[in-house]
């Protein structure tokens, strides 16, 4: 598995770097597609098809929405480059460096992937029945819609909120004359 | 037996994918790249799917692989056509050694810069 996963991660990282460097916003959006597709493929490799499907559909839809927005605004990257921004770059690089160092120091104490003490997951697959207590064949569906259905209500509400926000902010007139 | 035929078909499919990707890198302009990539990669993927179908037979996996083949065959050329037309309207030039461009001439006759049709 690792022989496939590592190249995919390299692909995603390179794609992200290239997307940052592109000068036109459209190119950036298109190149971000590499990151999204690579992520979806990585989920597939990790045998999480639910996530892979969600990632691919969301990737496509966000691509469409990006395009819609770029069409309405501009496709030029208008941020200033180079001049006068050096302190920012230095700060960002320093922060990233500190973050990576701290993370690699801290994450060493975390049990390796795949064999942490999966306490909750063991409980989900309860021992006294064939499947989980919910009777769903797909464990992910059982977790997100039954054990943690309240979370899913919250997530659906996040989407609802976002749509309401978009519709509210993009009204024709904000204030009454 | 089916397994080995399937493996062979899959192998050929991946080989076609390889040709397509080489074409994507080597050929000189968008239209040529589309030519190579669309044809080879979609047929290669179809080959993989068909090989899987041969290996699996009528199980859930095999049938879905079979269903995927017509879908690829319909969507891939359409997408290629749409991209080529979009690129041409967006003003992407043909390779400088190209022989002729009758589409460009037609567009000029119909109206300057406007997407025609």
């Amino acid at each position: 598995m690792i022989i496939v996963l590592c190249p995919l991660i390299v692909l995603m990282i390179l794609g992200g770097v290239v997307a940052l460097e592109a000068t036109s916003l459209l190119s950036s959006v298109v190149l971000l597609g590499i990151v999204g597709f690579g992520l979806s493929a990585a989920f597939l490799i990790l045998q999480a098809p639910d996530l892979a499907i969600v990632q691919i559909v969301v990737e496509t839809l966000s691509l469409i929405i990006f395009i819609a927005v770029i069409l309405k605004t501009t496709s030029k990257d208008t941020s200033t480059r180079g001049r006068g921004r050096t302190p920012h770059y230095v700060m960002a690089a320093a922060f990233a460096l500190i973050f990576v160092l701290a993370a690699s120091w801290a994450l060493a104490s975390i049990p390796p992937f795949g064999m942490p003490s999966l306490r909750m997951a063991e409980a989900y697959l309860s021992p006294n029945s064939l499947l989980q207590p919910t009777g769903a064949a797909n464990l992910v569906a059982a977790v997100i819609l039954d054990f943690r259905g309240y979370d899913t209500l919250g997530e659906a509400t996040v989407l609802f909120t976002a749509v309401m926000g978009v519709l509210a902010v993009l009204r024709k007139t904000g204030r009454k004359p | 037996m089916n397994d080995y035929i399937g493996l062979g078909v899959i192998f050929i499919g991946i080989l076609f994918d390889l040709f397509g990707c080489i074409g994507l890198v080597r050929l000189p302009d968008v239209y040529n790249r589309l030519q190579a990539a669309t044809k080879c990669v979609s047929l290669g993927t179809c080959g993989i799917m068909f090989g899987i179908f041969l290996m699996e037979g009528f199980s859930g996996l095999g049938v879905k692989a079979l269903v995927a083949i017509p879908l690829i065959f319909v969507t891939a050329p359409t997408a290629a056509h749409a991209l080529a037309r979009g690129a041409h309207i967006a003003g992407v030039r043909l390779w400088r050694k190209s022989v002729c461009d009758e589409y460009e001439e037609e567009k000029k006759q119909v109206g300057r810069g406007k997407p025609f049709i």
């Binding site: 098809p49 639910d50 892979a52 499907i53 969600v54 559909v57 969301v58 496509t60 839809l61 469409i64 929405i65 819609a68 927005v69 309405k72 605004t73 064939l130 499947l131 207590p133 919910t134 009777g135 769903a136 064949a137 797909n138 992910v140 569906a141 059982a142 997100i144 819609l145 039954d146 259905g149 309240y150 899913t152 209500l153 659906a156 509400t157 989407l159 609802f160 976002a162 749509v163 978009v166 519709l167 993009l170 024709k172 | 879908l71 319909v74 969507t75 359409t78 056509h81 749409a82 037309r85 049709i117």
Partner: protein, 143 residues
């Protein structure tokens, strides 16, 4: 000419239905196979988006569609809420009040398929509403 070339239009006429059907398949089989309300809902929205893209759509129709998809979104999430509240009346919030059924059948796992359908409707409405809002938005005001 409104919309895209005849080739794309013709292919869309066939493909939109298939995408829609596949989206619904993912929603309905969320508790058996990968996917679920969210992924399927996005695919259903994408089917409508594809038709919209290929045909192009006059603005007046789009406004009405936006309202309708926003309503569908509210209805979907309200259904989800009602399903949760039925549990509250019977015992606790989000109590799985239906019978569990036999595993691997379509009608199993209590209210999970119903939840999936509710979320699917909500997501489809939500994303189509966002798409229409952004696609028909007239960039006004100061440029």
């Amino acid at each position: 000419m409104r919309g895209m070339t005849p080739i794309v239009k013709t292919v869309t006429r066939g493909m939109a239905g298939m995408i829609f059907l596949y989206g619904i398949y993912i929603v309905l089989h969320g508790h058996l196979t990968p996917g679920g309300g969210f992924a399927g809902g996005v695919m259903v929205a994408a089917a409508f988006v594809l038709v919209f893209l290929a045909k192009g759509s006059p603005e007046a129709v789009s406004e009405a569609k936006k309202e309708r998809s926003s309503m569908a979104e509210s209805l979907g999430i309200l259904t989800f809420w009602v399903l949760a509240m039925i549990g509250l009346i019977g015992g606790t919030f989000f109590y799985n009040f239906l019978t569990k059924g036999k595993p691997f059948r379509l009608l199993s796992a209590g209210f999970i398929p119903l939840n999936n359908i509710a979320i699917g409707i909500e997501v489809a409405g939500a994303l189509f509403a966002i798409f229409i809002t952004l696609a028909v938005l007239k960039a006004g005001g100061k440029k």
